[in-house]
């Protein structure tokens, strides 16, 4: 207890924000550009390449990257860049599906568990523990086995394996928000339980969940690529990025670009996504 005369305790947080509106760092802009490019690839692949992704010129097989084929050609003479561009839609949508499942199912579980508490929370908590205990990739493999091999199912499997992470984060966020004074204030202002949950708890808990969703989008690309690599994705001539690496792998010895190019595209996209996610996350803490 002190005789507060001039403010004790409060730190920099007391100052109104001044840095708001500053331009994001260059790496973030670059990441955003990469993601925009890939989105554009997914929406209108035809704009970016003049080649056919499925039918190549067989006599032009294994041409090394150069002026004519920027990323070279594959074993059937198809332009690799074209295949990557055309494969992005499938890679992106499947990652989106995975994240959507994770956010929707995991978010709902976390929200309900965190807000209601009690036995509901205990039951949900155990389910989440179980999902968490099974290594994610293994769980995805099991689920995709049960559903059948194709990219959509791989996406669903990836989503299922991400449910636990989202549920946990959502729950802890809800717990954090739920104990905030403004929640009590809303109750005192006459808000019902549902009103408080939907208008105050959910929106305030969502931000970190969304930034995790962005991060998870990148991870989903990797997991789905991994599944495709093991052969649990769409069959050829689909050109999912993981499949491209998996196919190109047979030619690693004499046409290494078939592995490196799609592999690096995956890496760059995921890196951009995670940079963006980190930026969003910082925005929250600022």
């Amino acid at each position: 207890m002190s005789t507060a005369v001039l403010t004790p305790g409060l730190r920099a947080g007391a100052q109104p924000r001044t840095a708001a509106g500053a331009r994001p760092p260059a790496t973030v802009l670059l990441s955003a550009a990469v993601i925009l490019l890939v989105l554009a690839w997914s929406i209108a692949p035809g704009l970016f390449t003049g080649h056919d992704p499925a039918v190549g010129v067989p006599d032009d097989k294994f041409i090394a990257p150069g002026a004519q084929h920027w990323l070279g050609t594959d074993h059937l003479g198809r332009d690799l860049l074209t295949r990557i561009v055309h494969g992005s839609a499938s890679s992106m949508t499947s990652a989106l599906i995975a994240v959507a499942i994770g956010v929707a199912v995991g978010g709902a579980l976390g929200l309900v568990g965190g807000y209601l508490g009690g036995w509901v929370d205990a039951v949900i908590g155990r389910v989440v523990d179980v999902l968490l205990a099974i290594p994610g990739f293994l769980l995805a493999v099991v689920v995709v086995t049960a559903l059948g091999y194709d990219t959509r199912n791989a996406a669903i499997a990836t989503g299922v394996s991400a449910v636990a992470v989202f549920a946990r984060l959502m729950r802890s966020e809800v717990l954090r928000v739920r104990t905030s004074v403004f929640i009590e204030a809303a109750r005192i202002s006459g808000g019902s339980s549902t009103y408080v949950l939907l208008r105050h708890v959910l929106p305030n808990a969502l931000r970190p969940v969304l930034s995790l969703a962005v991060l998870q989008f990148g991870i989903a690309i990797l997991v789905i690529a991994g599944l495709a690599f093991l052969g649990y994705g769409d069959p050829p001539p689909a050109s999912d990025w993981g499949l491209l690496v998996s196919d190109g792998r047979e030619h690693l010895l004499h046409a290494p670009w078939l592995v490196l190019a799609p592999g690096l595209v995956i890496a760059v996209v995921v890196l951009s996504v995670s940079r963006l996610s980190r930026h969003l996350d910082q925005g929250r803490n600022r």
Partner: protein
């Protein structure tokens, strides 16, 4: 004072974090065995100066210009390696928050031995252990060995602060920089620590640079005072002259806002109120009878309230006073029906509060609202100011939309928040502004009773004075009834009509403010009253 003999001499110091300059041309000197107090509101640059002196700004991307000399040696240009021997051995540091200033996962002894190892000439472990024990004894810790074996979380704040002082004086520094060394501690402990610093200063001839926000501390403990505002010096000089004859308007304003120095600040407003809403014949708005509540957790049992009773007539202010954990907030929450009581009844506006009946509670809260202590967490960061204030009106479906807008505008005006802030979110408001928003929200429903749970204790004196003024004016105009919770008796004396002093959930004393202050019956109350800053001599200007 002869500058060349000064222990620490700061000359035209400028510090900026990035583009923002936060210390502008500050100069002062601390001599051997002398104490200099650096006072100023939050963010005025006090800690920054301390860090500049100790060269702890390294990791903060700060630019430092000007000159700092320690015993005549310029230190601003020194290389890190050359400065290292000065740290601890010449310049000691006592931090503000003892709870977080010791590594929680290492024992006190381990950290003390590490400090002892830095003292030149201590080779053997036994020597170091002896040093540690004697330093711990020197700061008045009775069982040094037990202390050394403990981990920080096993000691109280006062003990920890003593440990930190012991660690600071262990290498025999010439100057101690103490950055708000007592503001995290209880009143009674505060005095002991300050006494200890005084004693060390006298006996060992150590110079002290004391940073504080507490004018009373500065007045009582320092030889000289430097008043900072916004990084520049407003006033500097011997303590007596600064406090008795402040020259700068800022210092004068500062003094005027200190509740303890101006007990009658709101006397005028309250007199008008008494005229408009005479006390005689006013019905009881709040009637609390014999409430008790005990919290039981796995670990322990806490008696938060034990047979507490008080009443508040319409249009008056009742204060609940007591140290932290004495049950003040629990009583307030009980009134709002947020907490069930083990025993006793609470009536608000003649209706009994029943926490188990949601509809009755909803009805109750139309007439009874609360303003929370912390303005930083009591507002939804995603809502705009306008929407926050309108929310209770929307939820209670008061009038049509236009009427609600109007009512919200009225509430914002009542707390003197400028119109332009309506579309901002809490993140873009200062603490004082946020607290006004919280009050406006509580006012929007035009309740009869407001519970104010330490509404200003997180705020600056100046801001606090403004808020209290708003509240006093509202009471005068609307005849509101306040339950005012505070641990600051200075504020209570200015603002409340009656008070109840709580200690560990029990009523220690109650009555009208005048009576209690004039003749406190209990020792506890006396200690609380004596902690109001310097009334004798200094406060004469009020």
């Amino acid at each position: 004072m002869n500058p060349s003999s000064a222990l620490l001499q700061v000359e035209d110091l400028h510090v900026s974090y990035g583009p923002a300059e936060v210390v502008r041309g500050v100069s002062f000197a601390v001599g051997e065995g002398r104490a200099l107090a650096l006072i100023g509101e939050s963010g005025s640059g006090k800690s920054t100066i301390a860090r500049a002196v100790l060269r702890l700004l390294g990791s903060r991307r700060a630019r430092v210009d000007g000159s700092i000399t320690v015993r005549g040696r310029e230190i601003t240009g020194l290389r890190e390696r050359e400065f290292l021997p000065l740290r601890g051995r010449v310049l000691g540091f006592v931090p503000q928050d003892p709870g977080s200033s010791l590594n929680p996962v290492r024992s006190i002894g381990a950290q003390a031995l590490e400090a002892a190892a830095l003292v030149p000439g201590t080779r053997s472990r036994a020597q170091r252990e002896a040093l540690v024990v004697s330093a711990l004894e020197r700061v008045g810790l009775p069982e040094p060995q037990r202390i050394a074996d403990s981990f920080p979380h096993q000691l109280s704040g006062g003990q920890l602060q003593r440990v930190l002082i012991a660690l600071a004086i262990l290498p025999g520094p010439r100057l101690l920089v103490a950055d708000e060394p007592t503001s995290a501690l209880d009143v009674t402990v505060q005095e002991q620590i300050l006494d200890l610093l005084d004693e060390l200063r006298r006996e060992l001839g150590i110079g002290v640079l004391l940073i504080t926000h507490d004018l009373a501390v500065a007045a009582a403990r320092a030889d000289e005072v430097v008043v900072l505002q916004d990084g520049s010096i407003q006033e500097a000089g011997p303590t007596d002259s600064v406090f008795t004859a402040p020259r700068s308007p800022y210092t004068r304003a500062l003094q005027a806002d200190v509740p303890g120095l101006n007990p009658d600040r709101f006397a005028g407003l309250r007199a008008e109120r008494d005229e408009r809403h005479p006390a005689a014949g006013a019905d009881l708005q709040v009637d609390v009878r014999g409430i008790s509540r005990t919290f039981r957790t796995r670990e322990r049992e806490v008696r938060a309230l034990a047979d507490v009773s008080f009443t508040i007539p319409r249009g008056r202010t009742h204060a609940l006073v007591g140290e932290s954990g004495s049950g003040k907030s629990t009583a307030a929450r009980a009134l709002l029906g947020l907490e069930t009581m083990d025993a006793g009844t609470l009536d608000v506006g003649g209706v009994e509060v029943d926490p188990s009946d949601p509809r009755a509670l909803r009805e109750l809260r139309r007439h009874l609202q609360i303003v929370h202590q912390n303005p930083f967490t009591s507002l939804d960061p995603r809502f705009t100011v306008g929407r926050i204030v309108r929310e209770p009106l929307d939820l209670y479906r008061v009038g049509d939309r236009a009427a609600r807008e109007e009512r919200a505008a009225w509430a914002l005006e009542a707390v003197r928040l400028p119109e332009r802030l309506r579309d901002r979110r809490p993140g873009a408001l200062s603490g004082g502004q946020r607290q006004r928003v919280a009050i406006a929200r509580a006012l929007a429903l035009q309740p009869d009773v407001l519970v104010l749970d330490e509404p200003t204790s997180a705020l600056d004196v100046t801001v606090q004075a403004g808020i209290l003024e708003v509240l006093a004016t509202l009471q005068r105009d609307l005849g509101l009834t306040y339950l005012f919770i505070s641990h600051d008796l200075g504020v209570v004396r200015q603002f409340a009509d009656t008070l109840t002093v709580l200690r560990r959930g029990e009523v220690v004393e109650s009555g009208s403010v005048e009576e209690v202050f004039a003749v406190p019956r209990e020792e506890y109350t006396r200690a609380l009253i004596s902690s109001i800053p310097a009334r004798e001599g200094v406060g004469a200007s009020a």
